[in-house]
Symmetry: C2
Subunit: 150 residues, 2 copies
């Protein structure tokens, strides 16, 4: 039981054995991410104006600041613990069951906490515009013990 | 332990304790459903062209035949066991992790199997047009033991 408990500490099992397969290492988007992430495309259909993907992040990994141009993004958090931050606002700590809506043109990033795997379903419309990485300095100052999500 | 096992037989615990809260009895849409269902709205935002809902079905319950006019629907199956059927096609047996896309104008229904609770996330665009119920005769002839999903 101790081994199981140790594995669960960083939610690796929860994320890797979620409802939707974790997919492959997200090499296609690696240049827009810091650290290792996984991507599984669930819906990509020319008759549908959104894509749906299962995206998973190793501890410490996150995507660059980005915008959904002429679109939006919905995140349905499915595993582990992660961050979501819009420019000029405090980061929001995310857990399974949380829902995030990013509107057209809002600069933001999302990713795992330092110590936990993280996964979400992403429902995305429009065209992403990728910007600079979240710096280590900015990321490292985030603390899961000093969060007020109100 | 025996009680727990009995509860799990029909996936009631899995559906009632899923990632997203089960929500309330779906009284607003009761006239378009057979049997008892539950609805939890996750996303409803005038800036976003889809709604996202967690929909759960008691064993035997299902929605009427319907169409998504000027839109589409994506189902992400999250719990239990259910059916999806498009007009003129064989019913498809669904389990957690399955994904269904219903295109504009396609007449279809979805719901639980006779013996299992069922839940899915529904991502919906356009306007639903509700038609007749799935008859007991048609529903009762579906068998989970005689399914080929190929």
């Amino acid at each position: 039981m101790e081994v199981l408990f140790m594995n669960n500490n960083n939610n690796e099992n929860e994320v890797k054995n979620g409802l939707f397969p974790i997919g492959d290492e997200n090499l296609a988007f690696q240049k827009y991410f810091t650290g290792l992430t996984f991507h599984n495309s669930l819906v990509k259909d020319s008759n549908v104006n959104v894509t749906v993907s299962n995206v998973s992040f190793k501890p410490g990994s996150r995507n660059n600041w980005h915008i959904h141009h002429n679109g939006y993004q919905i995140l349905l958090v499915t595993g582990g613990e992660g961050w979501y931050q819009e420019e000029g606002k405090k980061a929001r700590l995310l857990h399974p069951g949380d829902v995030v809506i990013t509107l057209d043109g809002v600069k933001h990033w999302h990713g795992a906490t330092k110590d936990s795997w993280f996964s979400h379903i992403a429902i995305t419309a429009g065209t992403p515009i990728w910007e600079e990485p979240v710096s280590d300095a900015d990321y490292d100052q985030l603390s899961t013990e000093d969060v007020n999500n109100d």
